[in-house]
Amino acid sequence: MKKTLILGVGNYLLSDDGLSIHVLERLQSSNRIPDEIQMVDGGTCGLDLLQYLEGVSNLIIIDAVNRKNAAPGTIIRLSGDQVPAYLSLKISPHDIGLPDLLATAKLRDLYPQNVVVLGISPASLELGVELSPVVAVQVDTLINLIIEEVLQIEAI
């Protein structure tokens, strides 16, 4: 049985950066994700998340995503080589972000066969635990996309 992990990352305290926590809560209460699929609220844990990638074949990451020319509220899907995996110059170990985590996973042979990032382009990163209105209205669509993604994986 191939293992699938839904991993949310981001800072809950910074409005749209906390997208994944809002989405995970909704997914959990929706009962539409099969029990065998693990969901992890990765928060701002950085390299500590490496342990959850062990044995995972399909990884679905939920995060706020910036892309050039993408208006706030745009739903973004990245897969294959589009998923950034690099070790970046940093001042503090607290800068360790998703690309570092994924690059490190590659170095340790923990990189899953299929990696998909699903997210929304943020409108606000101000202090606050609510999503901005433009992002909030897109959450239902994002959740449906995640469930579709899961169903496709399950069908393989």
């Binding site: 500590d48 490496l50 342990q51 995060d63 001042i91 503090s92 800068d95």
Partner: protein
């Protein structure tokens, strides 16, 4: 939490004290190892240069410094091939944004290859030992089991979900692995790399003033001013004088905002954090800008001062205060390192001194992980299952008004929280975190903080690649970005270090 416990005069039960000590210790050990290998080592180790190392000579080097088993010629050849693969696959850009080939890298290729191998091993090591956090704290780094008055994790030899004999055995196993890596990889690596960078024992000194609140109470009812009661003693060292540890008086702590984007009624004076204010007053410049004017307000950090003086906090401060207090094991370890490097104690006041102090501190704590676990097991064995003080849980039991100071030593240094509780509510709350001490801007008198002072006189070979600046800044282990984690799909460079004349 400790601020509230101080305000309400709560004494946590013995089990909670020991579990907190254990969580602290394993967090320090993990944090320091990860800081060294995954952040700081790349300032000293040239990964690309490791490709030209001779695996046989690397194995010889590894055997000469440690009995660590992953040290064969074949092992290092395998690591080299793996790195080569990643360097070749340009599309990954996995080691992008670094300063490979910079003339300030001094290590021979074999030392670089050995360090790269340990960089990779440290990743596997941390994935394993982090399970101790899962047992004691639920989730790292934002632990979930702390509670005012104790811990929320039950202690019960007869319950499967509580801290029981099985969990104690698991912890002992994980802690043995933690200590082994520190003793046979981290410490030998630091000792092997340091001789190639002895010029950094004369650079990056900074202030010469050091402060520690002290932490890790070894007994219940510990007296924080008694160096025997705290694993990290409390105190202040002034003007690099190691012959005297001054007692710490928390009333002498004040924060200035003269050069910070906040306002006070009278900015020529500092405020004690118990009556501190945080009134945001951003005066620009608005981005994008070329540089910040240090004569004006230029940062979101306030400027904490002790007795009107700037202070350095962190592993170097703690180890110097332990050393000057005559703590036996600290003195033994520091003296043995100084002897190996054939250097006087004054070399500790430097960038390299910070690297060494962080390593010594890791060795000290790793040694205590198992004995402290046994202390917990013995206390539970006596039939003491208390984990939480219940007497102050109901707000009706609180005084109408109270003030509290929560002090601790975090991996990065002295951390203080001040609380004013009035009518069952928080009336005021202020925190001074370690990176505010070290990264402090200038104060009303123009005194610099630790980073600024430490960078003065640092030679920079190539201003477009200022690895030398990063060496000193990273040696403080700054915590500046526990913040936004938006993914940039275009892989843009977000952090860039620029040297100004």
């Amino acid at each position: 939490m400790r601020a509230v416990e101080d305000a309400l005069k709560i004494q946590v039960p013995t089990n909670a004290r020991i579990i907190r000590n254990l969580i602290d210790a394993i967090q320090f050990v993990q944090d320091h190892v990860i800081h060294f290998y995954h952040l700081h080592a790349l300032d000293w180790v040239d990964i690309v240069n490791a490709l030209s190392a001779d695996p046989k000579a690397t194995a010889d080097l590894a055997h000469s410094i440690s009995t660590w088993p992953n040290s064969s010629e074949n092992y290092f050849r395998g690591v080299q091939e793996r790195v080569q693969k990643f360097v070749n696959s340009g599309q990954l850009g996995i080691f992008a944004n670094a300063y490979w080939g910079h003339p300030a890298y001094n290590l021979p290729p074999e030392a670089n290859l050995m360090a790269v191998a340990h960089y990779l091993e440290a990743l596997d090591w941390q994935r394993e030992i982090i399970k101790a956090h899962a047992i004691l704290g639920a989730k790292n780094p934002h632990l979930q089991t702390y509670l005012v008055g104790g811990m929320s994790i039950p202690v019960d030899p007869n319950s499967e979900s509580a801290i029981n004999a099985d969990k104690i055995a698991q912890l002992l196993g994980l802690f043995a692995k933690a200590k082994d890596f520190v003793d046979r990889v981290y410490l030998p690596d630091v000792l092997a790399i340091a001789p190639f960078y002895l010029d950094w024992a004369g650079l990056g000194e900074g202030l010469g003033n050091f402060l520690s609140y002290g932490d890790i109470p070894l007994i219940d009812n510990a007296d924080p001013n008694n160096p025997e009661h705290l694993f990290f003693p409390r105190g202040v060292i002034l003007d690099r004088d190691l012959s005297k540890v001054h007692p710490l008086d928390p009333e002498k702590i004040h924060e200035f905002v003269t050069h910070s984007w906040y306002s006070y009624e009278d900015e020529s004076k500092g405020l004690h954090p118990s009556i501190g204010e945080t009134n945001v007053n951003f005066t620009g410049p608005n981005p994008p800008y070329e540089f910040l004017d240090t004569d004006k307000k230029y940062t979101w950090l306030k400027a904490p001062r002790y007795d009107q003086k700037s202070m350095e906090v962190g592993p170097l401060a703690r180890m110097l205060i332990g050393y000057a207090s005559g703590q036996k094991r600290v003195v033994e370890l520091i003296d043995s390192i100084l002897e190996k490097l054939n250097a006087p104690a004054t070399v500790l006041f430097s960038t390299l001194g910070r690297v060494a102090a962080r390593c010594v501190e890791t060795v000290l704590l790793a040694e205590q992980l198992q004995p402290w676990t046994m202390e917990l097991a013995e206390n539970i064995g006596k039939g003491d299952l208390r984990i939480h003080e219940q007497d102050h849980w109901e707000p009706s039991s609180w005084p109408a008004e109270s003030m509290g100071w929560g002090w601790t030593e975090a991996p990065r240094g002295a951390l203080g929280h001040w609380i004013h509780i009035k009518d069952g509510k928080i009336a005021n709350y202020q925190a001074i975190v370690p990176s505010t001490w070290n990264g402090s801007p200038r104060d009303a008198k123009g005194l610099m903080g630790a980073y600024e002072a430490a960078l003065i006189g640092t030679p920079v070979a190539d201003p477009s690649q200022p690895v030398e600046i990063l060496r000193t800044i990273h040696s403080f282990d700054p915590c500046m970005a526990c913040a936004v984690h938006v993914l940039d799909a275009d892989g843009n460079e977000i952090t860039k270090v620029i040297v100004m004349d």
